[in-house]
Structures are given as C-alpha cells and as structure tokens.
C-alpha cells in the first residue's frame, strides 16, 4: 500500500531534498518504520525516546490530524497522503 509522505523543510536533509517521498505501510507506525528504512535518522526526529510522536510534530493522514484519530495506529490507506508539519502556534 503506497503512501505519499510530504516532508517538511527541516527533514529534507534526510530525503536528499525531496519534498515528497513514497513508502509502504498500512498504519502511520508502519509508514514511519518504512521512512526510517529508506531515510535513516528520520524516525528519531519525528518520534521521541518513548517511540511516541514528538510534542511539537503535527501529523495528518489526508485531512485528519492523527491526534483526533488513532495516533500512530491511524490507518494509512493506499494512495493516501501523510503530512508532517512542525507545530506552530498561529494566532
């Protein structure tokens, strides 16, 4: 199940500058594992020492913030887009 991952600027050093990459995975957790296999080092930027999403990382599957879904267990259907975005306070 191929998933497109949109890569924020600060992680593009791991993807050779690519703003989007394709990986396989049926859940967000599997997508992160696949990202790490293809682009070593990237998982440690997104996950904390306990393997959870870092506090200031927002991840969306399609339009859905995974915090409103199932976090790392959120399904990532084939063809879906995962967006990784640094949290910014807005206002």
């Amino acid at each position: 199940m191929s998933v497109t991952v949109r890569v924020p600027t600060i992680l593009r050093t791991y993807t050779g500058g690519a703003s989007e990459v394709s990986v396989e995975g049926g859940t967000l957790s599997e997508v992160v594992t696949a990202l790490e296999a293809a682009h070593p080092g990237i998982a440690a930027r997104v996950l904390d020492d306990d393997g959870k999403l870092r506090r200031f990382v927002n991840v969306y599957v399609g339009d859905e913030d995974v915090r409103f879904a199932s976090g790392l267990d959120t399904p990532t259907p084939a063809g879906s887009t995962v967006s990784v975005i640094p949290a910014v306070a807005g206002g």
């Binding site: 600060i10 506090r55 409103f68 967006s83 975005i85 640094p86 910014v88 306070a89 206002g91």
Partner: protein
C-alpha cells in the same frame, strides 16, 4: 548547548546589529541554538524557537530608562529591547503601533468589587488590535531579510494587520483566513488590497495549509510561521507598556486571553526582562489566562493538572481565540502555574455579558476576546481565584466594531417611534431611569 547552526539561507551574519541585541534563535525544548533568520522549528526535536538576547552590551551599553524614553511614542520606544535595528521607526514598514492607553477602570472595578483595575486597551492600534505590534516586528525582520512577500494564517485580526502593514511597506501580502470569519474582520483585511484567501475550514485547517504553503515558498515571509520567533516578540511590548504606564512597576495580577498562548507568555517574558535589567522592581505578580469554553484546550489542561494540551475542535463566537491546537499552550500553563495564577473559560453568553459590562461601565467596546477576559475575571473573582484587592490589569486585544454580530442581537434601539414629540412622550423616553434600571 552553545553551538549555533548556520544552516538557513535567509540569515544575517553573526555580530550584525540588524537584529539589535538579539543573539540567536534558541529551541525552547532542547536548547539548540541557531543563527538568526527565517526559521521557526528546531531541526533536532521540532521544538519552537525563541529569540535569545544579550542586553549587557551594544554600542550604548546596557539598556536604561532614559534610552527607552528617548524613542518615538510607539512600540519602537522599546526598540532597544527588541530584535530590530535601532532605526526601526524610520523604516517604511512602520505604522507606529503601540502606546495604547492604560485605562483606569474604576466603574468596572466597582461592578466587580475590585479595588484597583486597569484595562490595557489595544483596540487603539492602527488596525484596531494588538496584532499590529507583532506584525511590525515581523515585517521589520522581513525587510531586513530582503523578503518582498509577506503571508499569514489568521483568525481575523492578524489578517488586517498584515494587509495594512504590507500596503504601507509596498510589499505583497497573501493572507489566509477561515471562510466563516466575521464580516468586519474580512472587510478589514480586504480593504488594504493584497491577496486574501478564504479557506473552507477552521483556523487550524488554515494554519496547517499555511505551513504547507510555506514549505513551497521559502522566499516569502510567513509572519506567524517562518517569522514566528520575530513576530511573537512584538507581544512583549504590551508588557513593557503596562509596566511603564504604571510608573515603571508591575501590577499584582493580569488577565490575558489565550489563543495560541503566545501573548500571555510574552507579557511574562517582558516583565522578567524588565526586572532582570533593573528597569522595574521584580515584585511578584500572578498571570491569569482566559478562554471561551467552546475552545478551551488550555483551560481544560489547567483544570486537569496536565502539562500537555489536548487539541479540540473550536466552536465559539470568540473566533479570534478559536485555535484548537495552541502550540504555546504548554508554555502558557507553565507561566500561570509558576506565578500562582489560574486559567478559566466562559460560555458564549458570558462573553457577550463581558462585552456589555465593559462597554456600559467604561465606554470601551471590545471584540469578543475582550469579552472573554472581562467575563473570566468576573468568574475568577467569584471562584476566589483572583484577589479583588490586588491591582489588576485586564487586556482588551481588539475592537468591538469588528465583531458586531456578537452583540447585534442583544443590543439595539430602546424604542422605534414616529418623529413626533407625542410619540417620544408616549414611549416614556423622557423619564430618568431609577437606580439600577436602564
């Protein structure tokens, strides 16, 4: 860590005074330091970056009251405490925001049973909200960095502030707003020209899109994304002004609205800076936060004793505070807990009552965020969480003329009559209301 990363292309050489006494961008989470430039998140942990300063040196030595008071009557009065060049006031991006009135609110205080109450009324800024302060600092940075286009995601007030300042500066603006904003805010953003884009979603959807657009347009200055560390510092000027307008001293309590959580934390930062510099005595103060119940993730976290703020989907008339995923929320919690304050939230009906109470007692027509702070102050007093005898400042961050819908259904003409004296008499309009009646 003391290493300074020099990665970003849009950066200024170390040692330059283009950013005044600022020395670096520092990650609030892990302490990693970065060269000053258009970046906002830590490469290591995604933590937000904040501006670090060295106020001890510079061409004219440490900052003094005399140095500050030599400045122009705007936020640039405090240029020596901000990351702007000394000539910021003379730059073309300037709309001269700030130096809004600190209004002694004796009648509101009496209504609330308080001894000494002040309203810091930021509706007096050029586009009628406190956002002119943050935009002025962000656009000065954009100008310094050579950016020609500025952009933002906005809950409304920022939209107008960016569009106006960009018009003044001769820069292009691209402003993203939720499509359900109040008409007053939409028109106030559109009138300045520029590109205004209504997004079919709430503010958090807009903010997300803006961040993604920022990835694609690194030559634009996104004032509350890529320029956020600069932008946020502008809020400190609220705290500086309050202290100076009180005669270079700190109040005992302050009530601040919480949207992203930035304003509350920056007022605290301002007061700690003033005390550290010896410009005020470091007397204790308590910081209180105010949210609308329909978007109260920080208030909920405070009540639950949590350090993490769980995002919510906003549903409130206080649209300028409707940020469901406030990234500075944890820091607002830290400040409130450290100072012994509290955070409370109020219903939309209470927001309207707060707007009316402020208007009817002090002649100040606040937007919904001002209704939130007044209503929360009343609630905090009722709960015994705020001290009625302590000198208190309540913040009004915007103008009620932008959110007329909030009160248009509950206020209006006392009567509609034919244009005759008989009709006036018949309606009883010549009688003086008895005490307590309107």
């Amino acid at each position: 860590m003391t290493t300074v990363s020099t990665d970003p292309g849009l950066a200024i050489a170390p040692g330059s005074r283009s950013f005044g006494p600022a020395t670096a961008l520092v990650c609030r989470e892990c302490g990693q330091r970065y060269q000053l430039g258009a970046r906002y998140a830590c490469d290591q942990c995604f933590g937000p970056l904040e501006v670090g300063y060295d106020f001890s040196g510079g061409p004219s030595g440490a900052v003094t009251r005399q140095q500050i008071e030599a400045g122009p009557p705007s936020i640039w009065w405090y240029a020596s405490l901000l990351l702007v060049p000394a000539d910021a006031a003379d730059r073309p991006v300037d709309l001269s925001p700030g130096w809004t009135r600190l209004h002694r609110a004796d009648h509101l205080g009496a209504a609330l049973g308080m001894r000494r109450l002040w309203v810091k009324d930021d509706s007096g800024n050029p586009t009628h909200s406190f956002k002119d302060r943050v935009v002025a600092v962000a656009l000065t940075a954009a100008h310094t960095l050579g950016l020609q286009t500025v952009a933002c995601a906005s809950t409304g007030n920022l939209a107008g502030a960016v569009a106006a300042a960009a018009a003044r500066a001769g820069m292009r603006s691209v402003v993203l707003i939720p499509d359900d904003l109040e008409d007053g805010k939409t028109v106030n953003a559109a009138v300045y020209g520029g590109t205004l884009v209504a997004i079919e979603g709430n503010y958090d959807d807009v903010n997300r899109l803006c961040s993604e657009v920022a990835f694609e347009h690194e030559d634009w200055g996104f004032v509350n994304v890529t320029l956020r560390p600069f932008y946020a510092e502008g809020s400190k000027t609220v705290g500086y002004e309050v202290a100076e307008q009180l005669g270079w001293r700190l109040p005992e309590q302050i009530v601040s609205p919480i949207a992203s959580g930035s304003l509350l934390t920056k007022v605290d930062k301002a007061w700690r800076e003033l005390a550290a510099l010896g410009l005020v005595e470091g007397t204790p103060y308590r910081v209180f936060g105010a949210q609308a119940t329909g978007c109260s993730p920080v208030s909920q976290a405070f009540a639950a004793g949590h350090e993490i703020v769980k995002p919510v989907k906003p549903n409130t008339i206080a649209k300028s505070l409707a940020i469901g995923n406030p990234a500075d929320g944890p820091y607002a919690l830290d400040v409130v807990r450290r100072t012994g304050g509290a955070i409370a939230d109020v219903s939309d009906d209470e927001v309207v009552e707060g707007i009316r109470l402020l208007a009817e007692t002090e002649g100040i027509f606040a937007e919904t965020a001002g209704g939130v702070t007044v209503a929360v102050l009343r609630k905090l007093l009722a709960l015994g969480l705020a001290d009625p005898d302590a000198e208190t400042v309540v913040l009004n961050t915007g103008d009620g003329l932008k959110t007329l819908d909030a009160v248009s259904g509950v206020v209006g003409p006392s009567a509609t009559i034919r244009p005759t004296l008989d009709a006036f008499r018949a309606a009883g309009l010549g009688q003086t209301p008895e005490a307590g009646q309107q």
